[in-house]
């Protein structure tokens, strides 16, 4: 076996890999997060849960407010509506691929254009 046939040293390989990764990261810095692609059933499940969870949180807050301020039905009624709004917002974001970000500003440029 001659010297030429020896595999390149691991340190060398490591350095080259590091350079290649750095180059790739520099070229497309905002590759954007990859969202899980859900099946139809999975999507339906997710949408349902988002809607119910936000409404439930709204009602919960409303009941606590009522107990605290003694405004029996009104807090619950108000926060039920707000919770439903939050639920619809969550569903909209989940479905339109903005992910779960709170706020309309998106990390991805192409999505901010659609707002």
């Amino acid at each position: 076996m001659t010297k030429k046939d020896e595999p390149p040293s691991l340190n060398d390989l490591d350095a080259r890999l590091r350079r290649a990764r750095q180059r790739e990261a520099d070229e497309n810095p905002s590759a954007g997060p990859v969202r899980p692609r859900l099946s139809g059933f999975g999507l339906a499940f997710r949408v349902g849960i988002e809607l119910v969870a936000a409404t439930a949180v709204g009602v919960g807050i409303g009941l606590l407010v009522d107990r605290w301020l003694g405004t029996k039905p009104w807090g619950m009624a108000l926060f039920f509506v707000l919770g439903s709004g939050a639920g619809v917002l969550n569903v909209y974001r989940a479905v339109s691929g903005i992910g779960s970000a709170v706020g309309y500003r998106s990390t991805r440029q192409d999505e901010t254009d659609q707002d």
């Binding site: 969870a53 926060f79 707000l82 709004g85 939050a86 917002l89 779960s100 706020g103 500003r105």
Partner: protein, 247 residues
Amino acid sequence: MAAAPPEDSPLHQFVIQPLVPIHIGNVDLSFTNSSLFMVVAATLVTLFLTLGMRGENLVPGRFQSMAEMSYEFVAGMVRDNVGSAGRKYFPFVFTLFMFVLFGNLLGLLPYSFTFTSHIAVTAALALVVIVGVTVVGIAKHGLHFLSFFVPKGVPAALLPLMIPIEVISYLSRPVSLSIRLFANMMAGHTMLKVFAGFVVLLGFLGGWAPLAMDVALTAFELLVAFLQAYVFTVLTCIYLNDAIHLH
């Protein structure tokens, strides 16, 4: 028809049984079958990773390959969703993923207990995630973190309406995170038990159809076990990304 004994119920598998009763004051801190399987899952993850990486061969064997794959998988997830700023939080995300994954997979073994099918467990995990992420956000941005709840491009007149909605939307995250995992696991395992019950009821002649269904469902549950661990972790990454980068 006489009422079936409770052991025959498809929901019996979810009953928490104290193994070592511990009561401190009025608080029940018993070591239950749920705790036992959490300990088993944590031990198995540790064994899987340490024994798998014991050789540290350049060309990995089977177990080393699996250990490296799980590392690469979660590392890729953190990199794609949070970017290089998320590298610091990789140990937490990796632990979370392995714990949920092993909990889901352990639950598929007969006579085992699926601790991820209990909302008490998933809600605790989700709360750790959300509180941790919020603390990270506040530590990184200070009071500026509150701008998170002020959507851009909304007329000032609508802000009193939008800010509570955003806050509720934020608070609903741990709820949906925990419900998704627990509901998926509980529904799947209940379904398995229901069909398994049909096998016994229909006997040798008719029992084959539900048995085939159970085989198919077990394969499906394996998929769900991986998928739900993945979804739980990927959502953690997304929330972390929101907190670090604030939109």
